[in-house]
């Protein structure tokens, strides 16, 4: 069973495009990152998956069920963390977990307690007296408390301190290794880089890339940093080479061409030091945004 399948999913808010013709699948047991800047359609997609929104056209299936007509069944089996969490101010984390489990006719607090402990979440204080980060931790506990098959999370690490972020990301990775699927949106690329098997990149509601982190990097350029003696290496005539900086017998450039072609050119100069690096996901992401026409 495919945990998430979107087929031509489109959502317009009046004349404004939320997402347009989005087609993708999340595989069982993977962490799929959903990347894009604010307003690119990430939250719209997640809300369509939970049945909060009705698509203008297209179809979304979650755990093999129709996201719109079978959303109650879906929500039994999915852990959802909304973006910009808001919880009842007069309720404690314990009370909210109890409510969430009661609706599901469950009472086992073991998982909730484990997650709360690992995130160091304060569960016995009313939400109105908790910091934003603490509320986010409680919301994560709520999303995980019923041991869902699939996790759909909207910027899960938002508002968390670095330690809690690390714990959460490790937790999500571990959940995926237990066979669960994690689909989460973010605009913090280092998060995706750390735990995602694949990432989807959205721009203005359209999917512009979907690949593994390695695949995305491999499709793209490499970064070269070198020190040379005498004349600088001649890179003229090579397509898609961009010099980033050059000073004091050192230079850095990025190139999309085959590494062997670069090495042939460099061998004609006196190279004292050379580093070839894969681009970071952030570089890849920015490159997509620069190159893909809107």
């Amino acid at each position: 069973m495919i945990p998430i399948r979107l087929d031509g999913l489109t959502k317009y808010y009046g004349p404004h495009c939320g997402i347009d013709d989005l087609t993708l699948e999340a595989r069982a047991g993977e962490v799929l990152g959903f990347l894009g800047p604010n307003g690119s359609g990430k939250t719209t997609t997640l809300r369509l998956l939970l049945g909060f929104l009705k698509p203008t056209s297209g179809e979304a299936k979650v755990l093999g069920l129709d996201a719109l007509s079978q959303s109650v069944e879906i929500r039994k089996r999915v852990g959802y963390l909304p973006g910009d969490v808001s919880l009842y101010g007069d309720r404690t984390g314990h009370e909210l977990v109890a409510l969430s489990l009661a609706v599901r006719r469950m009472s086992d607090l073991r998982i909730a307690n484990e997650v709360a402990e690992s995130l160091d979440a304060t569960m016995d204080r009313p939400m109105k007296k908790c910091s934003r980060g603490m509320r986010q931790k409680v919301a994560v506990v709520l999303a995980l408390a019923h041991d869902p098959e699939l996790l759909i999370m909207d910027e899960p690490a938002s508002g968390l301190d670095p330690l809690a972020q690390r714990t959460l990301l490790g937790f999500l990775r571990a959940e995926a290794e237990r066979g669960k699927t994690v689909f989460f949106s973010s605009h913090v690329l280092s998060e995706a880089e750390e735990i995602c098997d694949r990432v989807a990149i959205l721009r203005e509601g359209r999917l512009i890339a979907l690949d593994s982190i390695a695949g995305l990097r491999g499709r793209k350029y490499k970064n070269y940093t070198l020190a040379y003696a005498g004349a600088p290496p001649d890179l003229e005539g090579l397509d898609e080479v961009e010099i980033l900086w050059q000073r004091e017998q050192r230079m850095a450039f990025r190139a999309r061409v085959d590494v062997n072609e670069i090495l042939v050119r460099l061998s004609k100069s006196v190279i004292e030091d050379l580093t070839i690096e894969e681009p970071s996901l952030e570089d890849v992401f920015l490159d997509y945004y620069r190159r893909t026409p809107s």
Partner: protein, 263 residues
Amino acid sequence: MRVLALDLAKRTRVGLLWWMIGTVAMGAYVVGVYDTLGNVEDVADFYEQLPPALREFIGDADISTIDGWLQVEFMSWVPLILAIYGGIFAAGSVSREVEQRTVDFMLALPVSRVQFIASRLLIGVWNLLLMCVVIFALMTAGVALTGHTVHADNYALAVFNAFLLSVALLAAYVALATFVDEQSKVTGITIGVTLVLWIASVALQATDAPEVVRWFSPFEHYHSAEAMGGNSVTISSLIALGAASIVGAGTALYWYNRRDIAI
């Protein structure tokens, strides 16, 4: 849905308690003050001098009796109190959930939107029922404690009529709240609408507006004066209020199930 309803009941209990305290205080004052009136007949004369439309509106009752006094000074105001409570309840339990984004938590649970709105309607009706029971108990106990004859069946019919009217308005206000996601806006609109309908009923009576026009004002279907005076209440009014409740609730359930919950 039971869990949702109980949760909402728990969250609204403090607010409900304060409304009850206010209503009980008002009723207790009205009951208590009756025997302190120096000359009830003078008050009755004053009442007779009021414009007929106003007298009809607050209940063409004999205020030289305690039941007439209760009707004029208390029961004629009860639907206004209940209707305003209904508006505030609808704004707080439906619009506020979207405005403050707590609806995301609620609708992330495996509950349908129909169950969500039905739980709001159910607890709204339950809270109104509790207020009505307290009003009935207050009148019955108050009249008995002051040594007058208790006409419990009359009070029950008047309170029942007020209950039906407030349920119809609650359903309409919950329906409105499913369209408007701002709590303050819904609170303002519902209180405003309640007052306008209230005043419009007076105006329609004062101007001898045709029956068919007056029929559309919900307060026209409130007949506490007849009930408190021992007369029967027009059955068509009770049916109209019941039908209006069903239409309001149906609209709320239908629209909330169709709309986007976009934040």
